[in-house]
Amino acid sequence: MYDVCIIGAGVTGSSIARELSKYDLKTIVVERGLDVCEGTSKANSGIVHAGFDAEPGTLKAKLNREGNERMEQLSKDLDFSFKRNGSMVICCEESGMDTLKKLMSNGEKNGVKNMKIISGDEARAKEPNLSKNVIAALDVPMGGIVCPFELTIALAENACVNGVEFAFDNEVKDIKRSTGCYKVITSKREIEAKIVINAAGVYADRIHSMVSTVPMKITARRGQYCLYDKQTGKMVSRTIFQLPSKLGKGVLFTPTVHGNLLVGPTAEDIDDKEGTNTTAEGMNYARMKASESVENMPAGRMMITSFSGLRAHEEGDDFIIREAEDAENFIDAAGIESPGLSCAPVIGEYVANIVIPKLNPKKKEDFIAKREGIRHINSLPVEERERLIKENSAYSVIVCRCEMITEGEILDAIHRPLGARTLDGIKRRTRAGMGRCQAGFCTPRTMELISAELGISMEEILKSGRDSHVL
């Protein structure tokens, strides 16, 4: 019998798992994918929002501000990439000024610090590549960027080190009420738990309806993105937003924390919760809209990849983080769309505040609060690099030439807690294959390492899902 069963190993499930691992609890995370970060958490803008867009008084507003404030410390504790690069919302027409002011006042109500409306020229002085059409901008120093993979993996790894179990390849098929507990029936096993937490992303409504009759509807709102070569990554230093629309925050133009340029997302409500495909229309729209933010939009040939993610949009437009009305000890963490990533540092705590009074566990004294991430050799000072190479010569062998990822980093990714088992798992942990050649060069080499280290044949190696055989 588990105390807590968390459904979903995305950033929300991982955040909850990490928080609960501070307590003397038997916790398990069940995940249908073969790794953490396989759903919405892997395909989003990677923005740590300042918190000016959420309606004041909503849970989104509260958790966003707190999450933003705590992201920096968390990034130090768990060693993931985060940068407070600042955001800017640009306004290109007089008619948009009211919206801009509304955002500023929203932000103030939400507790966002140091915002300022500046003129178009002031904005261009800060960001010289901004469009000449910008007449004003909301300057928001609190905005940041984060690597969503690293963040999710760091939370999960730390939870794992602190005793949380992870059951991958376990799709939840049903949940049954039992005496004093729930029985979570997955594609592989049955798990009994006193408390069930629903962090199933776009499928949270399906999971919810397994135990509750209170209606919930999560719509998959697709966002398509285009990612550009690092040569273009310095076009802007801040995240440039356009004025928001009904469907979301509009198309942004941002450096990523690793130095690429990212544009997108679109916002399309789709019926298919597996519809993570890109479309020609979507990519064109993202690039066309993004080009309105800047002068000299990079040419299409500078693009290195495109992807799309599905926001878990709930009709009430706010997070649903609470115990289901008609299902005691079943806690939803649903509708976690933007700014869900920004809230990761505090969502766990918010959920824990519901769980802890129910079980009254002791706080662990030996909780390990810090985690050391994979050492990215190429970004270390030369002396440090030399030292690591002397310790382990695998750090001198480059496997991914574009991102300069060494064999040592890949071996670390495989052998650390919740280690990588798939090509995408390696990619998200190390960035091998994320560069401009998009894994053309490193795929065979990485596969040889996976094969040797895990003792599986090349033909058994998967890209990500259970049917995604590379060869």
């Binding site: 574009c402 998009q438 060869l471």
Partner: protein, 424 residues
């Protein structure tokens, strides 16, 4: 971190690096060091097990590994030093190379001259903007070639190939011979990007259809490729609605162009040519940094390895000259600027330094479309000096012209030389 000095450091031990090393040694420089990231010399030729290499250089048809071995064996016989499994991580303006490998860890090399011979990489799916899912089963043709020829594993059974570059054509035949069904080769352009002989020998001989002016507009399959949709494109390369055709397949190979691999070059601040994505070089193949030379596919993508070897030999000789003439005089006059005329996309070299003209200047270039019965002309400051008739020219094949030394001598004041089509 240890540091050593060498006369000539060559980055890359593929066909370009090997030929450059041999030429440099022949020209009298003893202290030559090749840095190669792979575990053996020869570069990409090692996985090109088909024949057709060396017709110009050796007057016989060799396989890729055989061609490479002709050079590698000589490099070894000459006692030219090389380091394998060695990745160069940085090149600085002052010709200091930072590299690392398992034996030496990190180390630096201060070179009197550097030859860039890093080759090129394949254009990935993302850069092509192909929409659809991102499943397993999408490979660049070269990656698939490595799996089949080096690892001995087939990447798939039912194959669609996008792009008719040479590697794609070669892989169409290779996959077929290994038992796969290659359903179609789609090419965005109205002409193939590969050599004519490869279309005949790799597609026609095996009954594989080539669809020109077609591209992939959708990829189906969440986990592994289940099929692709191909559509015809209009004159602006936009898909024409209603022409979509679905091909069930488990593998999509991409052969959509090669990109010179110039991260080190740009890192050193060397001037680049946006058309070739290679360095700007003069007639000695010297880049904008004196003593740094470029050759082979890192300079511009070649069609035949024979030309790579030839070019690299020139780079090796010129680098040797640079080292042996230490303290040579700086170029006295402004260089002659090479311009592209009608129908020509780029030229290598980009400029000609008169001081370095010893004999005829070889100019290599590619045309921007398929043309028949044209005259390729050399213009000095806009005046046609000479033209050469060509029955057909195509973007897939590199062209060359020689500017004769006596022509240059005859016009001592020429400022610009243009290569382009001449009117009748």
């Amino acid at each position: 971190m240890y540091c050593r000095n060498v006369d000539i450091a060559i980055i890359g031990g593929g066909p370009a690096g090997l030929a450059a090393a041999l030429a440099a040694r022949e020209a009298g420089v003893q202290d030559v060091l090749i840095l190669e990231r792979d575990t053996k010399l020869g570069g990409i030729l090692n996985q090109c097990i088909h024949n057709g290499f060396g017709l110009h250089t050796f007057k016989e048809e060799l396989t890729g590994p055989e061609y490479a071995a002709r050079f590698a064996d000589r490099v070894i016989a000459e006692g030219i030093e090389y380091k394998l499994g060695t990745m160069v991580v940085d090149l600085s303006k002052d010709k200091t190379i930072t590299a690392m490998n398992r034996e030496d860890g990190m180390f630096t090399i201060k070179a009197k001259a550097v030859i860039l011979a890093m080759g090129c990489r394949e254009r990935p799916r993302g850069a092509l903007g192909i929409p659809g899912f991102r499943p397993a089963g999408i490979f660049s043709a070269g990656t698939a070639q490595r799996f089949v020829n080096i690892e001995g594993i087939m990447p798939g059974k039912e194959v669609v190939i996008l792009g008719s570059g040479d590697i794609g054509l070669i892989m169409a035949r290779r996959m077929t011979l290994e038992g796969a069904k290659v359903k179609v080769v789609a090419e965005l352009m109205p002409y193939s990007g590969g050599l004519k002989r490869n279309i005949v020998q790799c597609l026609n001989d095996y009954g594989i259809p080539l669809k020109l002016s077609h591209t992939v507009v959708d990829i189906k399959g969440k986990e592994r490729v289940e099929g692709v949709t191909i559509a015809q494109v209009d004159a602006k390369n936009k898909p024409i609605p209603g022409t979509e055709e679905f091909y069930a397949c488990d593998t999509l190979l991409l052969s959509c162009g090669l990109i010179p691999e110039n991260e080190l070059t740009t890192g050193a601040g060397i001037e680049m040519n946006p058309v070739t994505s290679g360095a700007v070089v003069d007639n000695s193949l010297e880049t904008s940094i004196p003593g740094i030379y470029a050759c082979g596919n890192v300079l511009h993508v070649h069609d035949l390895v024979d030309y790579v070897s030839e070019e690299a030999g020139n780079a090796g000789r010129n680098a040797a000259k640079f080292v042996l003439d230490a303290g040579r005089e700086e170029a006295g006059s402004d260089p002659i600027i090479m311009k592209t005329g009608k129908g020509v996309r780029y030229t290598v070299p980009s400029k000609i330094c008169r001081e370095k003209v010893e004999k005829d200047v070889l100019v290599r270039f590619r045309v921007d479309n398929v043309y028949k019965d044209v005259k390729l002309g050399i213009f000095f400051d806009g005046e046609l000096v000479r033209s050469v008739k060509k029955r057909t020219v195509a973007p897939g094949e590199m062209e060359e012209l020689r500017i004769r030394k006596e022509e240059l001598d005859k016009f001592p004041d020429v400022r610009e030389i243009t290569v382009g089509f001449a009117e009748d």
